[in-house]
């Protein structure tokens, strides 16, 4: 689904990502760990193609095509979607109007809106005055209308109370079509995702297949996401950095 090779990215003249290699196979949900300021969000924003994130080296291959120089729109059309942490306010743009433009068939989305209590936000200006949790729910609702094959999720559980994490987790699981019982089917029918998480709480609901640790703009380690998470919880990121240095 996605292949990132030797990706080097500058933001405002500063090099943030240095030679990142990463892969997300079809039907996989991969997780990105790393300390604050490691460049995780920059990686997601770069993958989606937002301006201000300048690729100086390397390439992004999506569904077999080099998309490194494609516009945000083209990437979205190819089936990429994103849930950002701090979306901009769009005064005057109504939530429901946007949903109607994103998708002609809103039946599934309307159902989700009921389930996550977003119907009452339909006539609200997008993101204006939304709380942390409301932003997350609104982002997921838009993604549901968009129905992308590959979803970038930037800390879906941040700033959300414990009770709401379950709702978010199960909603993401649904979006990724993980509710299918057959494991083999999952990789054929399911969606792919790359997800940033600090706490790993969302992994209680969303089955993660592979983990990456990003420190100082480079991938330090990759492996079983649950093992990585428990190691980070025990020893912190410093051990990862030491481990990597020892291998060099």
């Amino acid at each position: 689904m996605l292949e990132v090779n030797n990706l080097t990215v500058e933001v405002a003249g500063r090099r943030i990502l240095k030679g990142v290699d990463l892969e997300v196979e079809t039907g996989y949900t991969n997780v990105l760990f790393g300390p604050n300021g490691a460049g995780k969000s920059v990686l997601l924003m770069t993958l989606m193609g937002f301006s201000g994130y300048n690729v100086t080296e390397g390439e992004i291959i999506f569904k077999g095509e080099d998309i490194t120089n494609m516009s945000v729109y083209e990437r979205a059309q190819m089936g990429m979607g994103i849930m950002t942490q701090r979306p901009p306010n769009l005064s005057g743009v109504k939530v429901h109007d946007l949903l109607k433009i994103i998708s002609k068939d809103l039946s599934g989305t309307e159902e989700l809106a009921e389930a996550i209590d977003m119907v009452r936000f339909y006539e609200r200006d997008l993101n204006v005055g939304f709380s942390g949790g409301e932003i997350k729910r609104s982002e997921l609702l838009q993604l549901s209308a968009q129905n992308p094959d590959f979803i970038l999720l930037d800390e879906p559980e941040s700033g959300v109370d414990l009770a709401s994490i379950e709702l978010l987790g199960t909603t993401i699981k649904k979006l990724l079509k993980m509710d299918t019982k057959c494991a083999g089917e999952k990789f054929k029918r399911g969606k792919s995702a790359l997800m940033i998480t600090h706490t790993g709480q969302v992994m209680d609901y969303v089955e993660a297949d592979r983990g990456y640790i990003l420190c100082n703009g480079t991938v330090m380690c990759t492996g079983n996401p649950r093992e990585i998470l428990s190691e980070i919880k025990e020893q912190g990121y410093e051990e990862c950095i030491k481990c990597k240095l020892m291998k060099m």
Partner: protein, 408 residues
Amino acid sequence: MQADENVRKKAQDALKKTAAFGEDFNLNDYGIASKDVEYTEDLEELNEEDQRTLLNVGFTPNEENRSGSLIMLDNAVSHTSLLDEDAVELMSLHDASKKHEWVKDYSWKLVKPDADKYTAMSYLQDANGYFIRAPAGKKAKMPVQTCLLIGSEEVSQTVHNIIIVEEGAELDVITGCSTKHGVDSGLHLGISEMYVKKGATLNFTMIHNWAEQVGVRPRTIIHVEEGGRYISNYICLKPVKSIQTYPTVILEGEGAFTRLNTIAVAHPDSELDLGSKVIFNAEKTGAELISRTITTGGTVIARGEMIGNANGAKGHLECHGLVLSDDGTQRAIPILEANVQDIELSHEAAVGRIARDQVEYLMARGLTEEEAVGMIVRGFLDVGIQGIPDELKTDIDETIEKIGESTI
């Protein structure tokens, strides 16, 4: 009579008086618009082109959902019809002056004939226009529609309108300003004096759709008594040479309130000098001035002024301007003045381009850049206006779509 003679003399002198703002038009460059125009009995007999012209400024020729209609063509009233005689009185100002002796107490009382050359010209031409009155306690269910139409090339049209909403009454008025098909240039001078009496409400919507070489100089003053409300929507989305206006609302009675919404687009070679002014002369009065303007190459000057002269007055002024072309200019000039202690006046002004992150956010949802810009522009203008007549929506959508395309 001596007093009249004095006013006339002053007006004569004021014919040379340049207005405080805006391009100075030479009145002699334009012929005087005719007072002898063909009367239209049945609006649906108008040809398709004329009907389209009316529809584009919110005037529906079939009069569906309207209480009454009046058209001023050049310098004469060419149509009047009244469907709700109980709740509204509607006729030409000249006819009203003949019918009611007291009309003179409302005429040229708010706008001074010698204010500038345009008011002077209108006074000296004995300009006709519409007279609309909502009798005390009456609430017309549907709006009254009027259209001020320039029908001849290179003429100056002078109009004088009076609206009176009596105690406890409610009235909606839609006024469309336009030029007949084939007319390219002209000058529109319009005097409007509006009286909102105790506990009354006037909702006033004005839609401009002029030809590209027309100069527009309206002079409008609204007087609001105790507990009265004056709500105005001012819409100008099409190319025009120059509009300079500075409607002033005087909140004269306790608890009076006004909201003035402006949405406007300055196309290349258009100059829009759009002000609004509120004078708080009574306690606990309130006002909101909201302006949303866009330039695609023309000049916008958004003036907003609030003068607080009474305790407990509250006002907020909001001017937002989008710049969608390097050739365009946006100038926001907010003025707040407090002359007593217990007063709360605030303003918020911002001019600039559409934020890139907003456009890309929508593009990440699969919208093209044109669609994203269109949606943001529509949202931006939506904030500035409430209750746009349905007939206008398609036209507004088309304009916004064109703006979206032209900015990519």
